[in-house]
Symmetry: C2
Subunit: 340 residues, 2 copies
DNA sequence: CCGGTTACTGTAACCGGTTACAGTATAGCA
DNA sequence: TGCTATACTGTAACCGGTTACAGTAACCGG
């Protein structure tokens, strides 16, 4: 311990202490050139003694790589993100990268560049849903900055790798379940936010199921759910007040299902006897609702893992799959009328 | 657009294009020295034209500040983290900092330094619960690296600012509620992980409530819950199989409450008629359990906000409150016997 | 009119790593 | 023996910012 300065040891301190040049130290650290066994041993000792850790900034500056992935999201809270984040984080660290997260929460989504996360501090970006507009993507794409989109597709004219889940087929299947198994014909749809792609695909699945069974699409049976508990609740109340007749509800997501169940319950309408209910996402609360919710399970953690892997591949090789569509499965509980 | 090189513009490009020196550009960017109005205008134009963004690494290297906060956690998944993370992230960005997150998930918690996050890439660290052992903290503290602990207290001999919630008083209050309002006397306690401080405080609160009402503490009424659904479920099954008599259950957290409710339900024991149940945390699913769970609400997002604020204060001024204890409140639903 | 302050600007060193290039020593081979 | 390939090491330039220091011009008070 010859060092008493309060600041941390640098590579030059290590070099001096071990009696070698900084180049040798660097080579030993990065294992990119042979270093004699005795020098290696000496360096190892000195490094632990000095608690030496290479400074990330200096390294990035020299190599032009930050070894950091960025994640751009809309809102961290909510049931949806933990598994997504967990998957992303896992892959990120398995590959020795850091993860910088940033959420866009301003009311009017600011696109004021520079974003908190970008080429200036990361090697690539994971972009969730509509946390970045087409112009922003265009801008990144123009400078060939690696981008992978999660739960959305490339904007017009750009080819950016996307990772998402199969929304339409699963929606169709679950609605068909309501029709075929439970004989429902007037099925409400509480749609998600209009700009959300998941939402759009789920509506298409809903329509396809109706079509397959020759049930005419009735606009009166569609109302806003917005992936939001209270909005769905109010939509439901209004529909009931207007006396709209229906025998089932398919909600854009589980949050909306919660709101729908509350409204139905308050109105004294029994689920699933009078009305079947089905959601989408299989959030953690789904099995605990009354009745337990029939819904669609999406492999969200896997989406995170795959997205991070694709981004790393894009960074390292310049190659990534244009589209990864992960399978979903419907989980039948009681709210549709089964198991009761 | 004179620039055609694919790499991003540097400060020298901006300087050349605007006909000034790099020092002037830097000063304009950082507003730390006067720059003439006309030069300022010219720089503004050039900067947007070149899409110039100062590179974070180079800046950090020169200033010795990363403008990045690190977060060390145990496990990202679970209901608990989203609000915590949300609070941390909000404050971090309000202050122009970046957030680097890292979770320690290895079976045997590796303490192999360097951690993925530390002085080499951040200005300070938020440490959640036991994601870092005493030795690790000692090490950071020795080099005066800013640290703020979340949901745990300083290890012996160190003074590190802590932010957590009032566990004991709330536990005592909710157990007293079971005793006073619902006349319960044989109250099970499903304890959390032994090393978790929250868990320990909650047990102390439980014991204090018993003591206040002259109910002797009975070790037979304590079983492992581990903040885990299935462990609590099995503990409960065993207690029932052994024929232990009880009229209420206080679980270390809501996860354990879910397991307890499942076991009770399967055994045909009605809640809250035969047995009252109370949890802790007020997780998102709590109101949807059957019956809706009486529990304690902790201001988790606020914990995140305050912790980040304290860390920033520590970084900027060297000062922070040794201990911030945020208030909790009990939320009475039905599982205790109220509102039914 | 002069000395001193203020407003603004430029030059160049520096932060802590990486790496191109140059060099030495030894081994292998004819 | 000489010649080349290989193993290992060092010097110094470079990455893209910041900032100490120096310098010029305008302004201000007496």
């Amino acid at each position: 311990m010859t060092k008493t300065k309060s600041s941390a040891a640098t590579i030059r301190d290590v070099a001096r202490q071990a009696g070698v040049s900084v180049a040798t130290v660097s080579r030993y650290i990065n294992h990119n050139a042979p270093v004699s066994a005795e020098v290696a041993a000496r360096l190892e000792t000195v490094m632990v003694e000095l608690h030496y850790t290479p400074q990330a900034n200096a390294r990035s500056l020299a190599t032009h790589r930050t070894h950091t992935l960025g994640l751009l999201m809309v809102d961290i809270a909510g049931d949806f993100f933990p598994p997504l984040l967990s998957g992303i984080e896992a892959v990120t660290y398995e590959n020795g990268y850091d993860l910088l997260i940033s959420s866009i929460r301003e009311p009017e989504r600011r696109r004021t560049f520079p974003l908190p996360v970008g080429p200036h501090n990361t090697d690539g970006l994971l972009v969730f849903a509509d946390s970045l507009d087409a112009e922003g993507m265009q801008r990144f794409a123009a400078s060939h900055f690696p981008l992978v989109l999660i739960h959305r597709s490339s904007p017009e004219g750009l080819i950016i790798p996307c990772v998402t889940v199969e929304n339409k087929a699963a929606s169709c299947t679950i609605v068909e379940h309501l029709i075929e198994t439970h004989n429902r014909r007037r099925i409400l749809f509480l749609q998600g936010p209009g700009e959300q792609e998941d939402s759009q695909w789920r509506e298409l699945g809903y329509r396809e199921a109706l079509e397959k069974h020759n049930i005419p699409f009735d606009p009166a049976l569609v109302a806003p759910g917005n992936f939001d508990r209270v909005i769905a609740y109010h939509s439901m109340q209004q529909l009931l007040a207007r006396g709209v007749i229906f025998d089932a509800v398919f909600t854009g997501d589980d949050e909306a299902a919660v709101g729908a169940l509350m409204a139905l319950n308050e109105a004294g309408i029994t689920v699933p006897d009078a009305v079947s209910v089905a959601g989408f996402d299989d959030q953690r609360m789904a099995p605990f609702l009354t009745p337990p919710l029939t819904t669609v399970r999406a492999p969200t953690e896997e989406v995170g893992r795959v997205a991070a892997q694709q981004l790393l591949s894009l960074i390292r090789t310049g190659q990534a799959n244009p589209l990864t569509l992960l399978p979903t499965e419907i989980v039948i509980r009681c709210s549709c009328g089964c198991n009761s």
